[in-house]
Symmetry: C2
Subunit: 302 residues, 2 copies
């Protein structure tokens, strides 16, 4: 199955205790599609400005990512500037320049209106809905969001969630959306809003999956060198949705496997700035780390 | 194998968002030994004051816990007062009264000097050493500590660690002891100080085991109702050491199982104030939750 993703393509400037990167390629749709490209074909819907270099588009195309839905319009590309302290779970936003993103009107290439899997990366829920309205009959709709939209556009988000099968959000956002500190209770409340499956991302603590019947706890891979957590959540979503698309199987058992593939991709992503590490992978490296996740979590029965 | 534990027996006053408890039975040795009593015989070395009621001693004895090493001396029992906010991972100490603990001189009952497993719960590392000096030839020495001793008695702690096989500490304490924010690097540094195995407790995020060759990640059990996290770490240690003692097997594979038993006991403990829930268990309930940990973490191979 092919994947349709809508999200941001951006220039990121990032400082961590281990170094800094200026105006490097970033954005949720970029991380997502690069990660997912190792599993399935992805069509990206996003907007960039006149300052966006062809080489970045060529890089995406070299991964067999369909960029016909990447609009290039007058103005400057979206920019994000952030800093991480030693607690790499917490991004501190220093500056956000929406630029061409402020008037983004997503348009889906005609032959992608039949997409069976849609990932709505973290953008305005009204834009996410606009994308969904153009897709004919998707089998799986997954989406991400953030505190900014939970606080500012909760009604639009709630309307969207009725049409979403899988919600993938951070732990703090799950608690904030549900207005409930206990994660198990928060998950039950969120599942009541529409999604069949909730995946809670917990940074270096891994991820939890709730579907109303069972709970799955996935660890994060313990890394000696974490350079830059930017894009970890979108790389996770890329591996997760990528595996679901490649297998065409959305059973609970396969969702667990997909979560591990997502965790694998996130673990690679944080090893370098921007898409440096994600770009240097192949299926063997990905599968080798998948096996390491098995070693990491295995214990014998009673 | 029998277990020898030295630690505190205390009266705790605890406030959480879900209720409060005044002057209830607590202390690291109490939680540890109650938890471990479901697995093996435990001998407790601690001190209480004249105000300590017989019924608490009888409760411990009813669990087949050997209390001959529980000294009763003139003065008042150790008291701790703390509060938890909605973030139940973080205890805020409101008051500590050492009382009889300030002049505690631990003495091991003669027939426990042959103990094969010793757990040095979180007390002054000089007292922990004093206990260790009285034990003849233990097969496994495990210990816990806290930021207070890391900051105030690091040299004594380092000296102790040379004689410790298994160190069980909190995540923040591991980072603080190693003066290293990255947990994988911190673990390598700590293993270099003596312990063969390091277990890092992460509260609601579970536990990590490092032994220099492999890493094991155990989840915490996602609970809908967490009433009181007091004693969770000591209940964890009780289940962990208890399983090692009962099986007489300290292989890596069995240490993983022991960590899950520790996680099971911690998950029960937080469901009620004081030892209420820990006291109401049996081996079937414990094994049933062990199986739930398997469901929680299972995923298929590639």
């Amino acid at each position: 199955m092919d994947i349709l993703v809508v999200g941001s393509v951006a220039f990121d400037s990032v400082e961590t205790p281990f170094g800094k990167a200026d105006e490097v390629l970033g954005g949720s749709a970029t991380y997502f599609s690069t990660s997912a490209s190792y599993f399935a074909k992805v069509c990206i819907v996003a907007v960039v400005g006149e300052d966006f270099p062809d080489e970045h588009v060529e890089m995406l195309n070299s991964k067999d990512i369909d960029t016909r839905g990447l609009q290039r319009v007058p103005g400057k590309t979206f920019r994000w500037k952030g800093r991480y302290e030693y607690d790499l779970n917490q991004a501190h936003t220093l500056d956000t320049q929406l630029n061409v993103f402020s008037s983004f009107d997503p348009t889906i290439p005609e032959d992608y209106k039949d997409a069976e899997i849609v990932f709505l990366a973290n953008i305005d829920p009204e834009l996410q809905m606009k994308v969904l309205d153009q897709v004919k009959n998707p089998r799986i709709v997954a989406c991400d969001t953030m505190n900014f939209w939970i606080e500012g556009k909760k009604d639009a988000l709630k309307k969207l969630l009725k049409r979403v099968e899988i919600l993938v959000i951070n732990e703090g956002e799950a608690r904030e959306f549900a207005e409930e500190p206990n994660l198990v209770k928060a998950a039950a409340m969120i599942l009541g809003c529409g999604p069949k499956t909730l995946i809670v991302k917990r940074g270096e603590y891994g991820a939890l999956m709730f579907d109303g019947k069972s709970v799955f706890s996935a660890p994060a891979y313990p890394l000696e060198d974490i350079f830059d957590p930017t894009g970890a959540g979108d790389s996770f979503a890329g591996g997760f949705i990528g595996h679901l698309a490649a297998s065409g199987d959305s059973s609970e058992a396969n969702i667990r496997k997909a979560i591990i593939y997502g965790s694998v991709m996130a673990s690679f992503n944080v090893e370098a700035f921007s898409l440096e590490r994600l770009n240097s992978l192949d299926k063997d490296k990905i599968d080798a780390r998948y096996s390491e996740f098995q070693c990491l979590t295995h214990f014998e029965g009673i």
